[in-house]
């Protein structure tokens, strides 16, 4: 019933205060306690909640959670139902000095609890690598994907029109001149703080869907895609951080609001809650893209999860055979403050693939994720710098040539796990 992580102290150490970027981690660890969330059904009194967050049986679960918190000396912080997993997720803070492993072990024996886990730390896989440029500089020519992926030619066929891409990341500057009108939904899942524009999220959003042919900045891979800017990460001194709970809330939102592509330019340890949410997303036909962490032998979660489009930067020294390579070094993109800047890392490589999937999603919306994964052509000649031959991929998947297409060779196919 209960799933417990072995590395609890490590998980605790990385768990900074999400509401205050840059603040050191609190002394008390937090855990997630899952209570069963019943499916909606007939009730005699007709009192139903206004949304999935406030269903008719919520008070029953709150009583159980309060009792559990009291019994184990914890502080009940908040709850967030995850209908896709049939659980109501309660965040609880342990008392100072309390051993999370002991509490989780005790909860594992409690029949009121579906399962529980530690809140773990995740980090974005990219950073700024160059000085910001001024406004008005046309950066398309220096976009590493521009020529190999023949973006201008490709846009004549598809631009990711109306494909909803969830960017689960730090805050996106929706008012950026290169992103104006591209953000359809903006939600904050970082507790204790309102939505703010941050570097990593804004940069990832720009790679995916910056406006094209607007005379400024860059062109996104899918400039007509619609972005769901879900802030689950926050900018801290140590980089852009997220945790199991904030990511789970954002994933849950993306599931409930029909995202077609989910971009996760981040990485961390295995996580049962997130793994299950990613699994549900895949079962619903949502493409999930994860950035590979080059410091982890398996690339880290979610990139190491079966069916996830795992992406490394094309200059990464080590990568698995199943991972995709995409531009990830010196990528010009949008930055907060109506600026543009150069960034590097697998985060941005993943963003390229999310944009690519949005473009393909416009052309072949019903294609299964497995077939799509199999259909992506690795470049050996026409686009060696990017690792992916987008034109050949689209020709292979749709049967139509969108640009100067070579004949794809079957021996160059990237096979899914």
């Amino acid at each position: 019933m209960l799933w417990v992580y072995a590395g609890l102290p490590g998980a605790q150490a990385g768990q900074g205060e999400p509401g205050v970027p840059g603040v050191a981690a609190p002394a008390a660890a937090e855990i997630l306690v899952m209570l069963h969330l019943p499916a909606p059904h007939f009730r005699a009194d007709g009192y139903s909640g206004a949304s999935y967050r406030d269903d008719a049986g919520r008070q029953a679960r709150q009583r159980i959670a309060a009792t559990l918190a009291r019994e184990h000396g914890m502080q009940l912080m908040e709850d967030w139902p995850m209908p896709a997993l049939n659980v109501d997720c309660y965040r609880m803070r342990l008392a100072a000095g309390q051993d999370p492993a002991a509490v989780l072990a005790a909860l594992s024996r409690d029949s009121r609890v579906a399962w529980a886990q530690a809140i773990q730390d995740f980090s974005a896989q990219g950073a700024a690598s160059g000085a910001a440029t001024g406004t008005g500089d046309p950066l398309y020519r220096v976009q590493p994907a521009a020529a190999p992926w023949q973006l201008q030619q490709l846009r004549k066929s598809a631009t990711g029109r109306k494909v909803l891409v969830a960017v689960i990341d730090s805050g996106v500057e929706a008012a950026h001149p290169d992103l104006a009108g591209q953000v359809a939904v903006q939600e904050n899942f970082v507790d204790g703080q309102s939505y703010v524009a941050e570097e990593h999220g804004t940069a990832v959003a720009g790679v995916i869907a910056a406006r094209a042919d607007n005379g400024i900045g860059i062109a996104g891979i899918a400039p007509d895609a619609r972005l769901m800017a879900l802030r689950a990460c926050w900018q801290a001194d140590s980089g852009t951080r997220c945790n199991s709970f904030t990511l789970a809330k954002a994933l849950n939102y993306a599931l409930l609001h029909n995202a077609q592509v989910i971009n996760l330019s981040l990485s961390g340890p295995p996580d049962r809650l997130l793994q299950q949410l990613v699994g549900v997303a895949q079962a619903r036909g949502i493409r999930v893209v994860g950035a590979i962490d080059p410091t982890r032998s398996d690339g880290g979660f979610p990139a190491n999860s079966p069916g996830v489009f795992a992406v490394a930067a094309d200059d990464a020294p080590h990568h698995g055979e199943q991972c995709l390579l995409a531009p990830g070094r010196d990528v010009p993109t949008t930055m907060p403050g109506a600026r543009w800047g150069m960034v590097s890392g697998s985060s941005y490589a993943a963003a390229h693939v999310s944009g690519m999937l949005a473009v393909i999603g416009e052309l072949k919306p019903q294609l299964s994720g497995e077939r799509l994964h199999e259909g992506i052509v690795r470049a050996s000649g026409p686009a060696p710098l990017t690792g992916i031959d987008l034109c050949a991929t689209i020709m292979r998947i749709t049967g139509k040539c969108s640009c100067a297409c070579p004949n794809p060779s079957t021996e160059n196919l990237a096979r899914s796990p």
Partner: protein, 241 residues
Amino acid sequence: MFLRMPQSFHRKPGTFALTGLACIFAASAQAQVSGSAGIVSDYMYRGISLSSGKPAARLSLDVDGANGWFAGGQVVSGQLAPQSHRNAQWLGYAGYAQRLPSGLSWEAGLSAYAFHGAPDWNFREMFVGMSFENYSARLHYSPDYLGFGERTVYAELNGGGPLGNAWRYFWRGGYLSAPGHAGSSRAEGRIGVGTAIEGWQMQLSLDAARLRRQGGGYGSYSSEPSSKVHSKLVLGLARGF
């Protein structure tokens, strides 16, 4: 004029619900118990007053097991049209509900109604339903609706959503079809707003019903012509638990 038929089902649905509750408790210690206790200005049941237009007290209980089984019950201090004073009206139900990977949920169950002092009205139903996000649809079939000896199918659509942070709206549209007694068929609906503060729930709704033709036999509107749409504002206040 409807004829009363002999009733084969006279057990109180409380027994039925208690059996279901016991099964759920026995099957799982993870059972979640919720409910409400309160009053309504008029107990409207599918567009018909079952409290003769008077306020009624209501207590309801719902139990969910971890494995998808659910059961519950309700007692209302109602008053049928032929009755001179309030009597307990019981409802018990039990069923199974499951959420599918797509996000869609389905349910199936049985319900039983009993009217203290008027056992001829007792009846039972089976229901199936589907829910998605804030919408649900159900079909209820009764082999002997309200003891009239007629088979009925009641179809309902429900929906709702938030209105700002504190309020929500809700609506229901329903149609009761009685193939053998077209006069019992009726369309009804409900639209309203509600809020919950510190465990208290308040609902204000407009309930309306339209009979296909001359009604009769039950309810406070039984003697009125069918061409008129009957509507009423209903206020409900309850303490949730």
